[in-house]
Symmetry: C2
Subunit: 521 residues, 2 copies
């Protein structure tokens, strides 16, 4: 499978750039061919204008057309076969088994979103039929549904080169709802990105959709990403990455003449609270699960448990010792790219006044809650295989610590039945519900299910928009907006809003959910 | 009914201000007693800290408690009786009949939202039961629902002193979903605001809820509004008013260390397109309807039709002449306050190179589309009884004009059956669907129904967040966020997510809507 080292702009392989960069073999740190170009302003403009033109066609497609596209993309990705996995393995250092699983997840996600597009009820159709006899004024006929918004810019994430990248959840969400997509490839896996972009292009062409439905641009300069966000045709942004980058994109979007939404999933400590009963009855098992969770994927998950909170006690000391022992036995892993490896080394080296439990490739340390709360360096997410135990003096300290926490993607509590019955735990769970998007009981936060009930997104700074999720079928809600049609004749209404309910949707008629047709009125 | 001229901070009548201002009788332009204080930083801080404390209690209330509160507020407002209407009439100049209707709408809205809170399905409960046998990995039990977010700051609007003010749609939306509210009273109707705040306080007390559930602060300085938006405890903002003020609040929210959502409904031209067939068959009737719509409430509605677009023809000339004739016969009305009256006079006086159709109290003019598109002064919303006819050279000009439009709350098309069958109209409707939140066929945009299918909100600059509505039951979605509970035992789950479905909600179980209980798993 040959790589061109070019952008894909509305189906065309192009590049005008003077500056180029290479993907790097994560294991050997040697450059991989070919070199990839930094997108120019003209190329960004071209991709977004093509996307805007494609939107006129794409917005008018029905659920079946979008389903066909998503399923075709999944098939084309599978057809890429081992070449895709080999390139992704070289560029990211992720093991082939993990990448095989991630490819399965990516294709399953495309097919799940295809099902949701086909079923169609996501449009949230609402119908208030006319009440011509109402006094003092008649009510008009009002029918409301969700519609696509326009070109979506997606930033590929480094840590999921398939599932959160070119044809990942953001792209699938945008296409499922009728929006064209311009992807900014993550510069750490440009070759993987090109292969997947080719697959998407083939699917778009096979479906007879405009080529501008999808473009892929390369670049590693912050200005390239900012220019994509600032382009007048850009209508929304999906991003997964660091807080600094996410906030910069958010700020750029908010200061546009016409602000646009940015769904940035950024940084999270994913606190784990270990209650006394659980500590006593199954401390070693929790330590083992925690070790697996914080070192999974070399600690490069946004849901990695970054802090573990417990009450000072001999059992807590034993837990810390056991975790340190387990961590010291973890072998070194290959990190995604040199930038992450360097940032990890620097951040762990910067920690002051901590009790080190393991300083091996997988690192763990312990501090008091008081120390934690006074030192900003301890409160930062450290991306990689590190976790920090935080000791609170007593059970009340658990809730006061929870109260001091910033917004989180997840929060976890380990507790035995007796632990869970106490008012303190009930307070703790309530507080965590205000600070996190997902609360895990007696489990670990890594492993994010792609399903209707998943919530992957929490209060700032874990994301820029806590009202939405970037994983699961509810992720579709990010790239749509409601439109109400007043007094339209049935022939001019979108099918989702027609009297006969030709799509068989679940609709809200006079405020009550039903799949029934609307009677003449 | 005596007025104190004080803030209401968590049930306490207080004011420390050195600076005070008066409400002004809109008809006579004389000051009304008492004077009202400009909120100090300490008062703002106090109201928001009380709100944050109240949130801990309020978030835990069930739907019935919120229903009871909203219904009590409606009752207390009704008990205020004619004194409320008299004060609102004095402060706003709005006729008593209109205010009586608006009070009815306000109370009906509170009761409708109370019903939605009681029914409870707005929490969008989603349940993916555990799949312990799934390969390669078991699926955990995932249950997701919407929860309140925290203190909401609501800015009262001048043009609906009841329905979009202290106990209007924003406050009702926030309370229905369990969020405390801090209202910044509109300085043009401080007395009306105080009366309604007293009613809300009585309802809060009668329901045994914390006094911090609701506060009312006065002020007319921009810095007061900005300080409310910037306060760390503020979690969201609802606003209806000018573009300049709305954008300033949006910018303040976006540049906070922790950005928060701002739902600002700002400015809209609400274009009306009159197609040839309709012009010929019922031009005079459309002119009459248009005159009523653009002069309703002295033109002070956010859905006032500000531009009317037609194709050059003798029928269009006759329509313009007829509209001018009707407009010239409209008597002068009392505007809401001197600021609006002055801005209206200045904006209409500033218009250059227009053909005046009426320069009476109700003003109408005509320009070509080319002239309109080159002059920013013509493209601005002019709040008050003014509308601008825009002539396009031919049918294709209708769509190219629509394409050039900014985001709008509404767009309207008048067309006879033959008009509506043409490809041009179909293009026009499609384009308007991309530019407006509500598309009206053969009607007028004023008159915004409070119902499940209403969409009051369109692309920027008509609002800052086109994904939401500020009118109708969907308005509740603004002040909530999803939280997912993983592997919780039934006893610790919120009732909405418990197996037995004790609240009888419509829930998504494994992606399919049902009111059935979830079987043991």
């Amino acid at each position: 499978m040959s790589l061109s080292g070019l952008h894909r702009i509305a189906g065309q392989a192009r590049a005008a750039a003077a500056t180029r960069f290479h993907g790097i073999d994560a294991a050997t740190q040697t450059p991989l061919e070919p070199a990839y170009p930094e997108a120019t302003s003209e190329e960004i403009h071209s991709a977004l204008c093509e996307a805007a033109d494609a939107f006129e066609v794409l917005a008018a497609t029905d659920g079946q057309a979008r389903t066909t596209l998503l399923e075709a993309i999944a098939r084309e990705i599978e057809i890429l076969g081992d070449a895709l996995l080999a390139r992704a393995h070289a560029e990211t250092g992720l093991p082939l088994a993990r990448l095989t699983g991630e490819r399965g997840r990516t294709c399953a996600q495309l097919r799940l979103f295809a099902q949701v597009a086909r079923e169609g009820s996501w449009v949230d159709a609402r119908i208030d039929p006319a009440l011509p006899q109402r006094q003092p004024l008649p009510r008009p006929d009002l029918r409301r549904m969700l519609q696509p918004i326009g070109p979506v810019v997606v930033f590929g994430a480094s840590n999921f080169p398939l599932a959160f990248s070119v044809a990942g959840g953001d792209t699938a969400s945008a296409l499922a709802t009728g929006n064209p997509v311009v992807v900014k490839a993550h510069p750490a896996h440009p070759g993987t990105s090109e292969l997947v972009a080719d697959a998407v292009d083939r699917a778009v062409a096979a479906c007879g959709l405009p080529a501008g439905t999808f473009s892929l641009l390369h670049g590693r300069e912050p200005r390239t990403g900012l220019a994509l966000v600032r382009h007048p045709e850009t209508c929304a942004v999906g991003f997964t990455g660091s807080h600094a980058a996410g906030r910069a994109l958010f700020d750029a979007a908010a200061t546009r003449p016409r602000p646009i939404p940015v769904f940035a999933e950024m940084s999270s400590l994913n606190p784990v609270f270990v209650l006394d009963g659980a500590l006593t009855s199954r401390g070693p098992a929790i330590a083992e699960g925690l070790k697996q969770s914080f070192t999974l994927g070399v600690g490069q998950f946004c849901t990695k448990p970054g802090i573990v909170v417990g009450v000072a006690s001999p059992a807590w000391d034993a837990f810390a010792a056991r975790l340190g022992e387990l961590a010291r036995a973890v072998p070194a892993g290959v990190m995604l790219h040199a930038g992450i490896a360097r940032a990890f080394a620097e951040a762990t080296a910067d920690l002051r006044d901590v009790e080190w439990l393991s300083q091996g490739p997988a690192a763990a340390a312990r501090v008091t809650a008081a120390r934690f709360l006074e030192d900003a360096a301890l409160q930062r997410e450290i991306f990689g295989p590190f976790t920090l135990l935080v000791t609170v003096p007593n059970a009340a300290g658990l809730t006061s610590f929870a109260r001091a926490l910033d917004g989180q993607l997840t929060a976890t509590v380990h507790g035995d039945p007796d632990d869970l019955r106490t008012p303190t735990t009930s307070d703790l769970l309530r507080l965590l519900g205000q600070r996190a998007g997902r609360i895990v009981l007696n489990g670990f936060p890594t492993g994010v299910e792609v399903s209707p009930a998943m919530q992957h997104g929490g209060p700032y700074p874990s994301t820029t928009d806590t009202r939405f999720t970037s994983v699961g079928t509810a992720a579709l809600a990010r790239f749509v907006r409601p439109v109400c049609f007043q007094d339209f004749p049935d022939s001019l209404r979108p099918p989702a809003l027609q009297d006969a309910n030709p799509l068989g949707l679940l609709r809200l008629v006079n405020g009550a959910p039903t799949r029934a047709a609307v009677g003449d009125n």
